[in-house]
């Protein structure tokens, strides 16, 4: 495996306070059958404020586990997870999380769903609903305030989830394969919208995906994880110019070059993971 030093930047030194910092983080679970399962092992990486970092890796490499640790949904078995220079202790209100599957409340209409965060956090109802209206407009759902989630398309439900997360004004946004269930056209549009929101709000994003193309088109850096137990295999800087148009950037020669380089790394892990699944099956 050959690569120039400009693209491979292992263990980025922390200049100032990182938005997120994971140091030698290991997470083990006890399976129902009583065995110990190591989801991730010795993961070390940090994300600067305002940075867009994509995490790619084969199925079952602990991508979601990593996000869960940052969000404070889980505790690490070893190592430390820091957010804004402080160790994570429980759920941090500065963090937003967009899930892979639908996590909007099916019994609330769009307006009430978007207003959920502020209402949970004890803001006055009128104020919450007013801000919800603003966010519904920002994600292009004006006119759908009274609809229930099941009456919307997958893409529209994702917009609700985005508005629901962004209304809390997170400084760190964690996204777990958020667009994987969408069709290709909708997905590209959503990716563009995400980049637009990210650029205007200047937040840090950790975007987990199994799609390398998506990772490169969106991120400042791409972090490749090994097959489970996941650990950092390589971190690549994506020096493509911004602002980017997701549907166009993939024809950029530099994009293709980066893709080939990272894919070399990723392919091995995908093969390992694939062989394991075959053996199990």
């Amino acid at each position: 495996m050959t690569m120039d030093s400009s693209t491979l930047t292992h263990n980025v030194s922390s200049l100032g306070t990182s938005a997120i910092e994971l140091r030698d983080v290991t997470k083990r679970f006890l399976t129902p059958s009583g065995q110990v399962y190591t989801a991730i092992r010795d993961i070390t990486f940090s994300i600067a404020p305002g940075e867009f970092c994509a995490v790619v890796g084969p199925t079952g490499c602990g991508k979601s586990t990593t996000l869960g640790l940052i969000a404070g949904l889980e505790r690490p078995s070893e190592g430390s997870v820091q957010v804004m220079g402080k160790p994570v202790q429980g759920i941090d209100p500065r963090i937003g999380y967009v899930f892979q599957t639908d996590a909007v409340l099916p019994w609330r209409n769009v307006l009430r769903n978007v207003a959920t965060g502020p209402l949970f956090r004890g803001q006055p109802k009128a104020e919450s609903l007013k801000r919800a209206h603003e966010w519904i407009a920002r994600v292009g759902l004006t006119g759908f305030e009274d609809r229930y989630p099941h009456q919307l398309s997958g893409g529209m439900r994702k917009r609700v989830a985005l508005a629901q997360t962004f209304i809390n004004e997170p400084q760190i946004l964690l996204m777990d394969e958020p667009f994987s269930a969408l069709d290709v056209q909708t997905r590209t549009l959503m990716e563009d919208e995400l980049l637009y929101l990210w650029a205007s709000l200047k937040i840090s994003v950790v975007f987990v995906t199994h799609d390398l193309e998506e990772a490169i088109s969106l991120a400042d850096r791409v972090c490749v994880l090994t097959a489970g137990p996941g650990t950092v295999k390589g971190i690549y800087s994506i020096d493509l110019p911004r602002p980017r148009k997701v549907e166009e950037i993939r024809f950029d020669p530099r994009f293709v070059q980066l893709y080939q380089q990272i894919w070399e790394d990723l392919r091995e892990e995908v093969m390992i993971s694939y062989e394991r699944t075959k053996q199990r099956g």
């Binding site: 969000a71 949904l73 759920i91 209100p93 963090i95 937003g96 999380y97 899930f99 892979q100 599957t101 639908d102 996590a103 909007v104 409340l105 099916p106 019994w107 609330r108 209409n109 959920t116 965060g117 949970f120 956090r121 920002r138 994600v139 292009g140 759902l141 004006t142 006119g143 229930y148 989630p149 099941h150 009456q151 919307l152 398309s153 893409g155 529209m156 629901q164 997360t165 809390n168 909708t186 549009l189 919208e193 637009y196």
Partner: protein, 302 residues
């Protein structure tokens, strides 16, 4: 941002499609007429056959009465049941006016239903949320549930007397377990992503219970209300049957003791009407509370 905002808009019907719609709705109307005609025909055949059977003389020489295919003395007779209903409505029952009997039974059933449902939901949610408590109490709840609860009726009659309390208690016991198991399961089955999302959005434990877990379990809880209400009625009627001063259960008991088969059937008919009406009320409640649910596919035919 709004590049996709027309996504998901329904197509409006245009002229050539309008014709097709007319054709389809005509076919649907014909089908529903056929269904209704067959429904009426079905009940006419059953009741008419029963009535005919009781008048069809198979042996004219038996004493004191000629033998018929169906003996109305044992199995009743639709015209006799109707007579009985008319008598009850116009002259009242042996225990007093008919509406009073219905009111008494209904009151017992509703009271038992409400208490049972509330207790069932509270216990279901608490134990569903608290795994430790559920593990500790689990075997006892299973053991209690395995007792055929109708057998408690004499106990309640002894302990609580012949008034409505003993019937309410029986209805409560019958309803409680159904609602309890459903809400317990409903709480356990709440989507983990939904919980994680709500927690990250800022929900406290209390908000999680009241605004995420209970609404989510409501689908299960409401499904159990349909069966629960019939069980509440069973509780009230069986309680009255064992010992009461008033009520439909007592009417059945009296009719049975007097070899009045028509009376038993007539009381059963009244119960069926009461049960169907309350079922309709619960369905209305269900539709109101679960408005957010997608309409089930194929719901149009019935």
């Amino acid at each position: 941002m709004s590049a996709l905002s027309n996504e998901g808009n329904e197509q409006t019907t245009t002229a050539p499609e309008g014709k097709e719609v007319k054709l389809y709705s005509a076919a649907r109307r014909r089908r529903s007429i056929l269904v209704n005609v067959l429904r009426v025909a079905f009940i006419v055949v059953i009741i008419g056959g029963w009535e005919l059977g009781t008048r069809w003389v198979t042996d004219a020489h038996t004493k004191p009465k000629p033998t018929t295919l169906i003996d109305p003395f044992f199995w009743g007779q639709p015209s006799g049941i109707w007579q009985q209903l008319v008598t009850w409505v116009t002259q009242g029952t042996a225990q007093g006016p008919l509406w009073e009997q219905i009111a008494v039974t209904l009151e017992e059933a509703i009271l038992g239903f409400v208490i049972g449902v509330v207790l069932g939901i509270i216990f279901g949610v608490v134990l569903g949320r608290n795994r430790f408590l559920a593990d500790v109490l689990g075997p006892y709840i299973k053991a209690l549930n395995s007792i055929p609860r109708v057998t408690l009726a004499p106990l309640f009659a002894i302990g609580l007397g012949l008034g409505s309390q003993s019937k309410v208690a029986l209805a409560v016991v019958l309803v409680f377990f159904i609602v309890f198991f459903n809400s317990f399961q409903g709480v356990r089955e709440v989507d983990r992503n939904l919980l994680a999302n709500a927690r990250i959005l800022g929900a406290s434990q209390r908000q999680l219970t009241t605004q995420v877990i209970i609404p989510s379990a409501l689908t299960w809880i409401i499904a159990s209300l349909h069966t629960s209400f019939s069980f509440a009625l069973v509780g009230a009627v069986v309680g009255e049957y064992i010992g009461a001063i008033q009520g439909i259960g007592l009417m059945i008991q009296t009719a049975g003791a007097n070899f009045n088969a028509n009376g038993v059937f007539a009381a059963m008919f009244i119960l069926a009407v009461v049960a169907l009406l309350s079922e309709a009320l619960i369905t209305a409640l269900e539709n109101r509370l679960l408005r957010w649910r997608p309409t089930p596919v194929g719901d149009v035919t019935i």
